[in-house]
């Protein structure tokens, strides 16, 4: 599903190295953590997968296609197959919970009937069915991240990419969100989580890829943060 070979990436016109010679492969239906301290290259890797950035060298295949060679007009179609979850939620605060989720479906051209059917369903999956009409600003941080998750799965993506999804949440709420991601994964969706939350990684015992200064220094099935480190 994601196949990286000798990936290198530079910022500031090649002055600072974000990733160096990174190679890994993620299979369909897998759950993997990308761990490492701030600046290790986790977010850069996520950006490469959704083609927000291009690698400096190496190849990255997502859903079998070399994303760095993907023409610009095909990008939206790649992203429709990837649900994104962000640390800062990135919701439209002046809109309701329902509208935020419906928005993701509307922009890809789903019919109104489909939206009316699907949005309550995904809100039910994340436990927010009763808050459909609530404004984002009236929700807690955990609830806002649930809206982010609902939005990410609304279009039935093949893969979810979560960049520090628990970074702004208290430990209990963070665990709830991770449990939701696990249940999404159990339904067959590939889940990639970039995090430096040691407790969460150790608790879930999933595949762990450890990044340090832009290099992949460890890759362990059912790993724990400290083992890999």
């Amino acid at each position: 599903m994601v196949d990286a070979k000798n990936l290198s990436m530079k910022y500031d016109k090649g002055k600072s190295l974000a990733l160096e010679n990174v190679s890994f492969s993620i299979d369909r239906g897998e759950f993997a953590f990308f761990v490492g301290s701030s600046g290790a290259g986790k977010s850069s890797l996520m950006k490469l997968i959704i083609r927000e950035e291009k690698p400096h060298s190496g190849t990255l295949r997502v859903f079998g296609r070399d994303v760095s060679r993907l023409p610009k007009h095909r990008l939206p179609y790649l992203r429709r197959n990837i649900g994104m979850v962000f640390q800062d939620f990135r919701l439209m605060e002046e809109r309701t919970v329902y509208d935020n989720v419906a928005f993701a479906m509307t922009v890809i051209g789903s019919s109104r009937r489909e939206i009316r059917r699907r949005v309550p369903h995904v809100l039910g999956l994340v436990g927010l069915k009763d808050k459909a009409r609530a404004k984002i600003t009236d929700l807690s941080g955990g609830e806002q991240q649930r809206v982010g998750l609902a939005r990410a799965i609304a279009n039935r993506p093949a893969m979810i990419i979560a960049d520090e999804p628990t970074g702004n949440l208290d430990p209990g709420t963070a665990l709830d969100i991770m449990n939701l991601l696990r249940s999404i994964n159990l339904r067959g969706t590939t889940v990639l989580v970039a995090t430096h939350n040691r407790e969460i990684v150790d608790r879930f015992k999933k595949r762990v890829l450890y990044l340090e200064n832009g290099r992949l220094v460890g890759d362990e099935q059912k790993g724990i943060y400290s083992h890999v480190h």
Binding site: I50, P76, R79, E94
Partner: protein, 303 residues
């Protein structure tokens, strides 16, 4: 994708874009009102200036049209010479109209102008006034060179065209026109700058929305259309409002001129003025609205 699927997606897209346009305008109403306000004020300034410029040009053109050459016919010229002179003048391609005024007619005019002052003057005595041809030219600016030309014609005693005054009039009108054009160009550039920047600000306020759209897989055109339509509406309304204001102000100005019997101020008809202004302001406002919003979106779409 099947044809039916494509049509369904197209209709859904269209409903979405129109819906988003009006929702966007409502959601960001204060910003949109501000942007439209800037368009209104800028185009109102430009429109008012154009209105003044149109009328100044019109008045000066009217004055210029009244400039004529008076060719004094030599009193010793015989009938044949006079006829040849008339023919030569009438056939000249720079001459628009030619009007013969006999010496008797000149005397009558003088009497009318001076009123009772000529009372007692024996008009049966020899009339000292010369018969003339009053000539208007195709191009008012040609009077100077034509006068010089006509002076050499046989049967011409003298030529008069308001020497000194005419040259000054032409200089003044030329200066007025140049200043007018320069100010209009300056104001247009200011309008372009102000409007596109204000709309850019409106788009920047919605940066987050655009970025989210990109992440969930919206195509650039799908994102652009509502913004472009919003820009178009803001620009269009922003151009209509100044037109209405200018129409109202201009009607008041015309009424004032009529009420004060200032008929020498030959103002252009309001219908014509508004139509001319609409030809400039509506496309300018609309185009600026569209360009302002689509250009300012560019960098947010690169996510």
């Amino acid at each position: 994708m099947s044809r039916k699927g494509f049509i369904r997606m197209f209709i859904n897209g269209l409903i979405y874009i129109l819906g988003e346009t009006f929702k966007g305008l409502y959601r960001n109403r204060w910003m949109c009102i501000t942007s439209t306000g800037v368009v209104v004020v800028t185009l109102l300034m430009l429109g008012l200036f154009m209105l003044v410029n149109f009328n100044v040009t019109h008045i000066t053109e009217t004055v210029k049209d009244q400039v004529e050459i008076i060719v004094y016919i030599d009193e010793n010229a015989d009938r044949e010479t006079r006829e040849e002179l008339r023919q030569k003048l009438a056939e000249h391609r720079e001459v628009a109209t030619i009007n013969y005024v006999s010496s008797e007619e000149h005397m009558n005019r003088l009497k009318r102008q001076l009123g009772g002052m000529l009372e007692g003057y024996d008009t049966s005595l020899e009339n000292p006034l010369l018969a003339t041809y009053e000539i208007t030219t195709v191009e008012p600016e040609a009077v100077v060179s034509l006068s010089d030309e006509f002076r050499d014609y046989p049967g011409v005693s003298d030529v008069f065209y308001g020497q000194g005054y005419v040259e000054n009039l032409f200089t003044v009108t030329r200066v007025v026109q140049i200043i007018g054009l320069a100010l209009m160009a300056g104001l247009s550039i200011t309008a372009v700058f102000l409007i596109s920047h204000t709309i850019k600000l409106t788009v920047m306020m919605r940066k987050r929305e655009i970025t989210i759209m990109k992440y969930v897989g919206a195509t650039n055109w799908f994102i652009r259309w509502p913004f472009i339509l919003e820009g178009l509406l803001m620009g269009f309304v922003g151009a209509l409002v100044p037109l209405a204001i200018i129409y109202y102000i201009y009607e008041m100005a015309i009424s004032w001129v009529v009420a004060n019997e200032l008929m020498f101020l030959s103002l252009l008809p309001s219908q014509w003025v508004i139509t001319e202004l609409a030809k400039y302001l509506v496309p300018l406002g609309t185009a600026l609205g569209i360009l302002g919003s689509s250009f300012s979106m560019g960098r947010f779409l690169r996510v």
